[in-house]
């Protein structure tokens, strides 16, 4: 029997090597949680367990997973198909953590799906993987075939009477597929446009049936919580946080990468100890703590623990937990313009503020960067952060885009003014 892990999500991952086969995974106590649970534990008690663990959504929102699950009507209230959908549409710029989990330990993903589907009494599971993740798709399909052959997926799993099919669905692009209701439209063979909520997917999701959509990392935690308990999971965090997190960092640091660390690890520890600090000749100006949709955290605040609550105290969000470093040799205006180019292109076009506003923001920023800005541009951009902010659009894409712009105007105001006054970018 393996020792009780402190870093459960990556314990089987051997970077650069093939992932564990089903046999290797089982040798490392894999699928024990499934064998000890199916037909032996009441599904409802698993939902209570996940709620008690405090597990939060790892896709960026941090919404309590147990509470999300509790919002799904019971099978007695809503007979018919029930779906579990794994959101593996990892496309938030600067985010590369789910790739590690999918490629590195696909059986952990499958075991999490089996246990979660059992808890929810869902009979079908879809893994929505972005189309470019070809290795992940191949490894998941292989792991599913191995699990089916071992009777871990299919009809009457391990004699428990529980049936489950698991299918990988490869996407065809578009960031908006990561929005859970847009993802459901895409799975149904439609344009990926967000749906109005309510009704929430838990009640009316895929083909109108009760559906839970969870991120890859969230569900990968489930087997460990089932195996070792809610108290064990809560005890993994530091600085008042619970569990572990796949954090990551990219940009001009010495060793960009992903690191499973206790939730609540300070940003500085990740960047300086795990990523080796900045590359020779570069200084850190600020970071986006968790992808392109999060606001800047300035260099003087790097000691903040990487938790949802602590990031909020500094006006930003933990997001996906994968940070992007803005260094002193990179122009903040160009940096923000690049982020806005992404959001403008990826707007689904459904609502006007996002469809028309984001290209306007992108062009305004690029003209400032090119030395063609006007004095009135900064007021215009500030106004846009309100017009495209929370509550003005159908989904969170445009408000997410405004996070870097609003905080950028706040922290780098003199840099914007200098571009406009000198009609040039000081960095070029």
């Amino acid at each position: 029997m393996s020792a009780i892990p402190r870093l459960p999500l990556t314990r089987n991952i051997r970077r650069g090597a093939a992932p564990f086969s089903r046999a290797e995974y089982e040798q490392a106590d894999g699928y024990l949680a499934v064998r000890d649970t199916l037909g032996k534990v009441e599904p409802a008690s698993l939902i209570t367990l996940i709620a008690a663990s405090g597990l939060g959504g790892c896709g960026g929102g941090g919404f309590p997973t147990g509470r999300k699950w509790q919002l799904m009507p019971g099978k007695d209230q809503r007979p018919g198909p029930r779906y579990l959908v794994i959101n593996a549409d990892e496309m938030e710029p600067g985010t590369f953590k789910d790739r590690l989990l999918l490629e590195g330990d696909p059986h952990q993903m499958i075991e999490g799906i089996i246990l979660s589907a059992y808890a929810l009494q869902a009979d079908h599971a879809y893994i929505f993987v972005r189309g470019e993740y070809l290795t992940a798709i191949e490894r998941l399909n292989h792991a599913i075939a191995e699990a089916e052959a071992a009777g871990l997926i299919g009809e009457n799993i391990l004699g428990s009477g529980f049936d489950l099919s698991v299918q990988v669905h490869g996407g065809a692009g578009r960031y908006i597929c990561g929005e859970e209701t847009a993802l459901l439209n895409s799975l149904e063979g439609r344009r990926a446009i967000p749906r109005s909520k309510p009704p929430f997917p838990q009640v009316n999701g895929l083909w109108g049936c009760p559906t839970i959509v969870n991120n890859v990392e969230t569900i990968c935690n489930v087997p460990h919580i089932v195996r070792y308990g809610a108290d064990w999971y809560r005890g993994l965090g530091v600085n008042g946080a619970l569990g572990t997190k796949i954090y990551g960092v990219s940009g001009r640091v010495r060793n960009p990468g992903t690191f499973e660390l206790p939730m609540g690890t300070p940003m500085r520890d990740m960047i300086e100890d795990h990523a080796g600090g900045m590359k020779e000749g570069y200084r850190l100006t600020a970071v986006l703590p968790g992808g392109a949709s999060t606001a800047f955290l300035m260099a003087e605040n790097l000691d903040v623990p990487m938790t949802f609550a602590d990031m909020a105290k500094h006006g930003t969000r933990l997001g996906t937990g994968t940070a992007i470093v803005l260094d002193d040799k990179t122009c903040p205006v160009g940096f923000i313009a690049n982020l806005q180019q992404f959001f403008a292109r990826e707007s689904c076009g459904w609502c006007a503020p996002c469809r028309d506003g984001l290209p306007w923001v992108e062009r305004t920023l690029k003209s400032i960067e090119a030395g063609e800005g006007r004095a009135t541009d900064l007021d215009l951009l500030l106004e846009m952060t309100g017009n495209l902010g929370p509550g003005r659009t159908f989904c969170a894409l445009a408000p997410g885009a405004m996070a870097s712009l609003q905080s950028g105007l706040q922290y780098f105001g003199p840099v914007f003014e200098q571009h406009i006054a000198t009609k040039a970018c000081p960095w070029t």
Binding site: E90, E92, F96, A172, R174, R190
Partner: protein, 166 residues
């Protein structure tokens, strides 16, 4: 140009494969993206004629399927070269020099974003973050992911095909 503008009708193999994809879902239209990706893999892009035929198999109008096809950036409704180059233009790759790589590709292959080389080998398209930011700058060429790309790597990848070398 090696690009074929017209595509033959779907053959028996393709029709059977699409029927198999449809069987995976409760509704036929749910197989729309899988079906478009499948025919594209065989035919490089989805022509109007192919789109009409696939729509018929899915029980959708051609307009309905085109609405889906044109939404997704990995479905190509226009001819592309043998291999599509997806050069990431999101933030981590931008910081680490993707603009210089785009300039090098232009110098080397004579194509900018959205263009295909005269010999039909490569098409360059923009792509958002490929989720491999610890190896930025990153690109895909066909099905292959390339990380830590520099101009020397580009030269190796885009060296002329054997038959072209004098």
């Amino acid at each position: 140009m090696s690009i074929v503008e017209r595509q033959p009708p779907l053959d028996a193999t393709e029709r059977a494969a699409i029927a198999e994809l449809i069987a995976h879902y409760p509704t036929a239209r749910a197989a729309a993206i899988d079906s478009l990706k499948y025919v594209q893999q065989r035919r490089r892009y989805v022509s109007d004629g192919t789109l009409h035929e696939v729509a018929h198999l899915l029980g959708m109008s051609a307009a309905e399927l085109d609405e889906v096809a044109t939404f997704y950036n990995l479905i190509y409704r226009k001819p592309v070269g043998e291999k599509v180059i997806l050069l990431c233009d999101s933030i981590s790759c931008w910081i680490t020099g993707r603009d210089q790589l785009a300039a090098h590709i232009h110098q080397r292959l004579g194509i900018r974003q959205g263009e295909t080389t005269a010999d039909g080998r490569f098409t360059l398209l923009p792509i958002v973050c490929l989720g491999d930011c610890d190896h930025a700058p990153v690109m895909m060429v066909g099905d292959t992911l390339h990380g830590n790309v520099d101009t020397a790597a580009l030269d190796a990848i885009f060296k002329p095909a054997e038959s072209d070398t004098p």
